[in-house]
């Protein structure tokens, strides 16, 4: 087996047994990036020198018998996380030259654990997109079919992991940006409970929805990294002061008696029959593992897309007001007035999708419209949240599709914002409610991956990962490789 086919556990064991060094492992990945990434465009910045220095430091720690389960293992960081000394672009021309003088908390934690950052992964501009076509650095291609999108906004993270250009990657999820691309590239991606992972140093899109997580090749890999990323951070007021459960330790437990709910709204029209077949087959697997399955209802789920497209743009329009060309970021040349400086810097620095969302958000917050849009959306958000509260009174996990179908072709929907927004129909509700959710491989339709979504109650990441891991013990979809990248 090649190094890039090994699980994180196997990589850790190999490093500690000195079968290979972190430097060798890192060079292996850097080599693959050099060979394969031109076809995928999954990295915005490759940090080879920094990676090798980190690898050497990891090797020294390992040689001294120190380090954690992750020491010496490479990863890709989504380019939304600030990395001191390395450009953090957020996929935008606005931040093309932005180098933060600080690290995001998760960067600090994963660096501290001894992980080796290979580079910064491509993404939709400011995480706004479902196809990774809005990046200033060009679209990312899906390793399963390079004519197709990898999903978004964490398109670079998933493409890199799916193609073996990183063993694991960080990602963020505001309305499905971890789960939907994971589904479209045959990966396991988890968005934990809001507040579980620090948002400090993660460039904000919609603060009350944004949550960092992981995309990996298995639930087990995801569990290890999520464990290391999670935890209380005094620098983030929305970080939860609560110990992190032992996700890895819980993986092996039996799921006999686990109560799984299928929300009927997630199986209504719009779900592609090919995807439906995969999900139904997966339900059978869970039943075979001893889980009990019943129907539940999330009656307000159909309102999650309109709710999201008020709340998220409103917060985004505010969060992106700081990009004004004064202290950092793109600044238009030859401007003579302050207003010109603002308008041109922002007009030039932001792409079309970002500008659309800023304008929608500005509009829904403006005088005379606030109640009809923003306040109304906040109320419906409560209804969506209450739906989950009720459902979790009856079941332990909720299971449904992650996306309506397989990955679309590049350019298919990029001119039609509303059609693109509807891609997120199954994933958004979890962000609005703040609950943890994940996607895992559930088979193939027309040779393209289909993802299955699990949603859990608040802080039930452990139970969710356990169910996903048990499912992956009974299936091998997650072990398949896209042709040409094995």
């Amino acid at each position: 087996m090649s190094l890039h086919e090994l699980s994180l556990r196997e990589l850790g064991e190999g490093l500690r047994a000195k079968k290979f060094s972190s430097r060798e492992l890192t060079q292996h990945y850097l080599g693959r990036i050099g060979r394969h990434d031109p076809a995928l465009n999954s990295y915005i910045t490759v940090t080879a020198d920094r990676a090798l220095a980190q690898a050497d430091a990891a090797d020294a720690r390992l040689a001294a018998g120190q380090g954690s389960a992750l020491t010496g293992i490479p990863l890709a960081q989504k380019d939304i996380f600030c990395t001191s000394g390395v450009r953090t672009s957020c996929g935008s021309k606005m931040l093309d030259k932005f180098i933060a003088p600080y690290d995001a908390t998760i960067v600090r934690k994963l660096d501290g654990a001894g992980m080796v950052m290979l580079g910064k992964a491509n993404m939709d501009e400011f995480a706004m997109g479902s196809s990774n076509e809005t990046s200033f650095y060009g679209p990312v291609k899906n390793p399963w079919d390079v004519e197709r999108v990898p999903g978004g906004s964490s398109g670079g993270s998933v493409a890199a992991v799916a193609a073996g250009l990183a063993p694991v990657a960080t990602a963020t999820d505001t309305g499905g940006s971890i789960r939907q691309p994971a589904a479209l590239t045959n990966l396991t991606g988890i968005k934990p409970t809001y507040g579980r992972v620090s948002r400090y140093g993660m460039i904000a899109f919609a603060s009350s929805l944004d949550q960092a997580g992981v995309v990996a090749r298995s639930a087990e890999d995801a569990a290890v990294v999520l464990q290391a990323m999670s935890g209380f951070d005094p620098l983030d007021s929305t970080s939860v002061e609560r110990p992190v459960d032992d996700y890895v330790g819980a993986l092996g437990a039996s799921i006999r008696g686990l109560r799984i709910g299928l929300p009927k709204e997630y199986f209504a029209e719009g779900l592609d029959p090919g995807a439906r077949a995969c999900i139904e087959a997966a339900v059978k697997v869970f039943e075979g593992l001893g889980a009990s399955v019943r129907e539940v209802s999330l009656p307000n789920a159909p309102l999650s897309v309109p709710t999201y497209y008020v709340v998220a743009p409103a917060e985004a329009s505010s969060n992106l007001a700081r990009f004004d060309g004064v202290r950092y970021g793109h600044r238009a040349e030859g401007v003579h007035t302050l207003e010109e400086l603002y308008k041109r810097s922002r007009g030039e620095g932001f792409g079309a999708e970002v500008q659309r969302r800023i304008m929608i958000g500005t509009y829904v917050l403006s005088h005379g419209y606030y109640d009809a849009y923003y306040l109304k959306a906040q109320k419906v958000r409560r209804l969506i949240y209450d739906d989950f509260r009720r459902a979790f009174g009856e079941v332990d996990l909720i299971l449904g599709p992650t996306a309506q179908s397989v990955a679309i072709k590049l350019g298919d929907k990029s001119d039609d914002p509303v059609a693109m927004y509807l891609n997120d129909i199954y994933t958004i509700a979890a962000n609005l409610a703040g609950i943890p959710a994940m996607s895992l491989p559930a088979g193939f339709h027309q040779d393209l991956p289909i993802g299955l979504q699990l949603m859990g109650n608040f802080f039930d990441e452990g139970r969710m990962l356990n169910a996903a891991h048990q499912y992956q013990q009974a299936t091998d979809f997650h072990k398949r490789w896209p042709k040409g990248f094995a």
Partner: protein, 95 residues
Amino acid sequence: MSLSPEQVKQVAHLARLSLPPEKVEPYARQLSNILEMVGQLSGAATDGVQPMAHPLDMVQRLRPDAVSEENRRDAFQAIAPAVENGLYLVPKVIE
């Protein structure tokens, strides 16, 4: 709900986005489509529902009043578009 070109210009101004004339109409159309989709919300029964600003039922944590940040002006200003004598420069502001 649809947005007129005038409204689009007004919103772009509020958001400080330059808006080339040829983009006003397409934006008006796209934004109107989005608002139409969002308009579904008006049908939801929300009487007596508390607005939800945040998924967490937590209260604000307080930080002790202590100076923990040292002066890192050089690091912050290394990427600034225009600085002089430690000041950020912008075009003359007339009051």
